[in-house]
Point group: D2
């Protein structure tokens, strides 16, 4: 089964073969990531939240959403590789913070207690 | 070693325990993802591309960048879980497209041939 | 009454007085703009579309949304000044395109005919 | 000379004539704004900061950047109209804050003192 590590290695080769490492600075890759996330938003912007739950069932929009997610992952994994960050470990560390800040018993179904709109990084 | 699947499962539990699935529509999660990517951009916006290459060596900015990446991964993995998309497979599929569109011999070190600014998704 | 031109001039002075023009490249300013838009999204991400219609009535969120809009305008106006683009004229030109592409009689209340998810540049 | 108010009024008519107000919630418009900012980033992502300073001189990229700026303005002005926020006043208020936080004498040409990466909104 393909892993993030496999993807990261193949993206590294892809860039090296084309001599694109010169363009793959963290700054540039973060911009590319944001551009792809913008395209993902565009697919969902006119849908209601409920409609968005079934977007993958749409024969036209579904594949587009999947392709945009693929693009997002590509730039995110490439960015993390260039920075030397293990994405999954970074996410688990951040999640551990959230588990402390949002104790189950005090965070029941409240929009106020929904994930903070700004990370405390 | 922790995998994307492990993370996805733990995020699913995290949301369910807090009764937050009601907020976790693809539309909302895509917005949260974009918000976190915005915070990541903010860490890199005043750096030169070259400075951004060594941002992880900065005792102050490095951990912030890593934390923002963690947040990005959290919302991306949660979004993919809600949509039923395998992120790594979606990325490999998209990469196969790019390999066809950017043949090695015709894409040498040219900014023009750098990854397209818009996916053809 | 304060105009975009007044704001643009004052932002120019603000940057010059602090010797910040060196940081105010279009690339950097576009990143800063995107970062501020990310903060705006974060204010709206957990609201339903209907709830978002009355966000300005919320004593806590309303001023935050207004402040984020102010930040977005600041970087957008600064970016346009550095690029030498008249924002209002550029918007009118783009709107004229949309009026041609979305004739009134064929665009009635249909999500399909809602503004395109990708500009045609 | 065309003003933001003129543009706002024409966008209001444009939406009303097509019965699109139903889609123009602040949440949806903020997503559309972010999508357009993403397209703007995509135009600049592989350029160096210096190259980005002359992007408007490029016969191909220049008009695209201008068109993306037009799209950004359209959604930003529409969003502000729906929220009832005066964009220019909101920006001047935010700028007054920044003038207090970044006194001229203590903010000379220092990246550290560059505009904060997070608004204190």
């Amino acid at each position: 089964m393909a892993s993030v590590e496999d993807l990261s290695a193949r993206l590294r080769d892809f860039a090296a073969e084309r001599d694109w490492n010169q363009f793959h600075t963290p700054k540039n890759l973060a911009m590319a990531l944001a551009g792809e996330v913008g395209e993902l938003l565009a697919e969902l912007q006119w849908l209601t939240p409920e409609q968005s739950r079934s977007v993958m069932d749409d024969a036209s929009a579904g594949p587009r959403v999947r392709a945009e997610l693929g693009d997002v992952v590509i730039y995110l994994v490439r960015l993390a590789d260039v920075l030397g960050v293990d994405l999954v470990v970074a996410a688990f560390d951040k999640l551990a913070d959230s588990e402390r800040r949002y104790p189950v018993e005090r965070s029941q179904g409240s929009a106020r207690k929904a994930p903070p709109t700004r990370s405390t990084g």
